[in-house]
């Protein structure tokens, strides 16, 4: 990872931070409804892993904290924000919402809202890759708490058994909704759990994007080379509550302060400043450019985008005019 890469990533990370903060404001203004799970604090995880992978080529799936994963895969941030605004121009046409961002053109295969649901789906995508013989890999991002679901164990078992090209990322932010990991999970180090299935695993600092990148590079190379699955645990922290409806009263201020010192944005910024690659002014200029893009392009686009047509309420339930629903007996289709 060279200095230019890091400068680009600083912009991406600033964009991710400001995008999510703007979501928070829009939610408070009631422009965004429903559940909203924000990513500040964890940005280096999605950005660092996908920097080591091939966005738009590899298949990515995740949970409900999904905006930044989608954008890093190549989703248009305008379409993501418009989805949060529940508009027809949203990437899921206003039918999905914050928890169900999809952009299959960029192989972002969706955000799913049942904790642990994507584990087997990712293994299945890997099975499909294996059958088709491609060089893609499937990458599944989920939180530490998802690892307590049965789907985690069932999926890791099958992934290892069949040497599936799937990379499981555990973004360990220490909390499953409002319950701290030591109150919910017998083994706190999540990477250790993968050894039950003979899956190689590593733990890395999820706040330093360079550390994430290097750990992810090893993981991605392993999976892409056909050696089977890999699990990478990233130690991270979310600054906000689990969702917007979470008052975040269960964490002590000292802990938040400590993790605040390990802000991935500040770490990357300080690395670049220490290397003489940017100055404070440059940082503020990038920040301003990012905010301008959000305020001048993304928000107006989302606000002005059309609402879905109620006449299309029942579209997308089933395939349209599928010939095999009422086939001719001999099936000439």
């Amino acid at each position: 990872m060279n200095t230019d890469d890091k400068k680009r990533l600083l912009r991406e990370m600033l964009f991710a931070r400001r995008f999510e903060e703007r979501c928070y404001e829009a939610y408070m203004e009631r422009k965004i409804g429903g559940f909203l799970h924000l990513y500040p604090g964890q940005e280096a995880c999605a950005l660092g892993v996908m920097e080591a992978a091939r966005p738009g080529h590899d298949y990515v799936i995740t949970g409900y904290r999904d905006h930044i994963h989608a954008i890093k895969c190549g989703a248009d941030p305008k379409a993501v924000m418009a989805e949060l605004f529940a508009k027809e121009s949203g990437c899921s046409k206003g039918r999905g919402g914050s928890m169900h961002i999809f952009d299959t053109a960029h192989r972002f295969m969706g955000g799913y809202a049942l904790v642990g649901g994507p584990f087997p789906l990712a293994a299945g995508m890997a099975k499909a890759i294996q059958l088709k013989g491609g060089d893609e890999i499937a990458i599944c991002f989920l939180g530490d708490a998802a690892n307590n679901q049965g789907s985690y164990h069932e999926s890791l078992n099958m992934a290892a058994l069949w040497k599936l090209p799937v990379l499981y990322i555990t973004e360990n932010n220490l909390y499953g909704i409002g319950t701290r990991i030591d109150r919910s999970t017998a083994v706190k180090d999540q990477y250790k759990r993968a050894c039950s299935y003979g899956i190689p695993a590593e733990q890395a600092d999820g706040q330093d994007i360079e550390a994430v990148y290097h750990a992810a590079k090893v993981a991605v190379d392993h999976v892409r080379s056909g050696k089977g699955p890999y699990l990478l645990e990233l130690l991270t922290y979310r600054y906000r509550g689990h969702s917007m409806s979470d008052a975040n009263a269960y964490r002590c201020k000292d802990e938040e302060k400590e993790w605040g010192k390990r802000d991935p944005l500040i770490i990357l910024r300080d690395q670049l400043i220490a290397a003489g690659a940017i100055g404070e002014d440059d940082y503020h200029a990038i920040d301003k450019a990012v905010i301008d893009e959000i305020e001048q392009e993304i928000i107006p686009f989302s606000e002005n985008a059309p609402e879905p047509d109620v006449a299309e309420l029942e579209r997308y339930v089933l395939a349209e005019n599928d010939p095999w629903v009422r086939p001719a007996a001999g099936g000439q289709q």
Binding site: I61, C91, K93, H100, G117, P120, G124, K127, L131
Partner: protein
């Protein structure tokens, strides 16, 4: 047209579709080396290999989810759940992933997966191996539910379901795999929507699906001896139900009995009665009736088990009552 057993028909559909398209795979517990508990995949492991005929761990939620994930990328998995009772463990993936992904992605993604499973009561399998779950599946938008009552349908519906772009649940029956019936020699595709008039009649309509079609036919034979001409409708598609077909028959006979192997509450019968009320209430000469299982967990004792389930004699008795005989 040759006769074959139900399991052979299912097997033939697998074989033809797998031979045609290398992305058609089948998976489930014991489907490979063993050839399937009901032989529905026998011989396929040797022919297509372990990559495409996959013996899965006993982890229904996991392998069903895996099949659904594979279908996102264009693979066409036929997943066998060894018993429909085990489907409860896979419900999250069937309902939350397969049935909803097209909608919540705004039409970008689809899950063209087939899940087939024997439901129904066999003999003394006890409460946890005797579930009739069609009522559960048919309540979910985004999922097609069909239930073949004979080998021809079993063959033709699986063929259509593999090619259909929607997730399709095929509800089979533990007691029907050895049933014989005619299946076309040439390739045959059965519709996934609609219903079939299995027997024409003018006095009363008996609605059945899967095994209860046979109970209806038996009852119709019995009623014929008394001069009652019962029409038998095979509701092979449970979701969507054939509103037009239901209304057409009731408009002709003006009387309806729905025969279901499952318990009455929130079931196929309840739904068909609602459709009759909505679509052809004023055609009725009598209030529709359900002949259903008793609302109990299925007991182990054979006498109790038989008492818990409907049978053709109950259908005959219900028809006589309705006709004032």
């Amino acid at each position: 047209m040759a006769e074959m057993m139900y399991w052979e028909a299912v097997r033939r559909a697998h074989d033809e579709e797998m031979a045609r398209d290398p992305l058609v795979i089948c998976m489930g517990e014991d489907v490979g080396v063993v050839g399937g508990t009901y032989k529905a995949t026998s011989g396929l492991y040797d022919k297509y290999g372990p990559e495409r005929v996959i013996d899965t761990p006993i982890a229904e939620g996991g392998y069903t989810g895996l099949g659904i994930g594979a279908s996102f990328l264009g693979v066409r998995p036929i997943i066998e759940l060894m018993s429909v009772n085990f489907a409860w463990l896979a419900m999250d993936q069937i309902f939350n992933s397969a049935a909803k992904v097209r909608y919540m992605s705004g039409g970008q993604l689809e899950a063209p997966v087939v899940i087939r499973s024997p439901g129904g009561c066999a003999h003394q399998l006890g409460a946890q191996h005797s579930a009739r779950m069609e009522k559960v599946f048919m309540g979910i938008a985004g999922l097609r539910v069909v239930t073949p009552s004979n080998p021809r349908q079993a063959y033709g519906m699986l063929k259509s379901a593999v090619r259909c772009n929607d997730p399709v649940f095929i509800n089979e029956h533990e007691l029907m795999y050895n049933m014989k019936g005619e299946v076309p020699d040439e390739e045959y595709f059965h519709p996934l929507e609609g219903s079939e008039v299995t027997r024409q009649g003018k006095d009363i309509t008996l609605f059945g699906y899967n095994i209860s079609v046979h109970w209806c036919l038996e009852a119709a034979d019995e009623l014929a001896k008394e001069g009652i001409e019962a029409e038998v409708i095979d509701l092979y598609s449970l979701s969507p139900l054939d509103r037009a077909g239901i209304a057409a028959s009731v408009s002709k006979t003006h009387r309806a009995i729905i025969v279901e192997e499952a318990e009455a509450p929130v079931g196929v019968g309840a739904e068909v009665m609602a459709i009759i009320n909505e679509a052809c209430f004023f055609e009725l000469d009598a209030a529709p009736v359900r002949v259903s299982a008793r609302n109990v967990p299925i007991p182990f004792n054979r006498t109790l088990e038989k008492a818990a389930l409907p049978n053709p004699a109950e259908v005959v008795a219900a028809a006589r009552r309705m006709l004032g005989r």
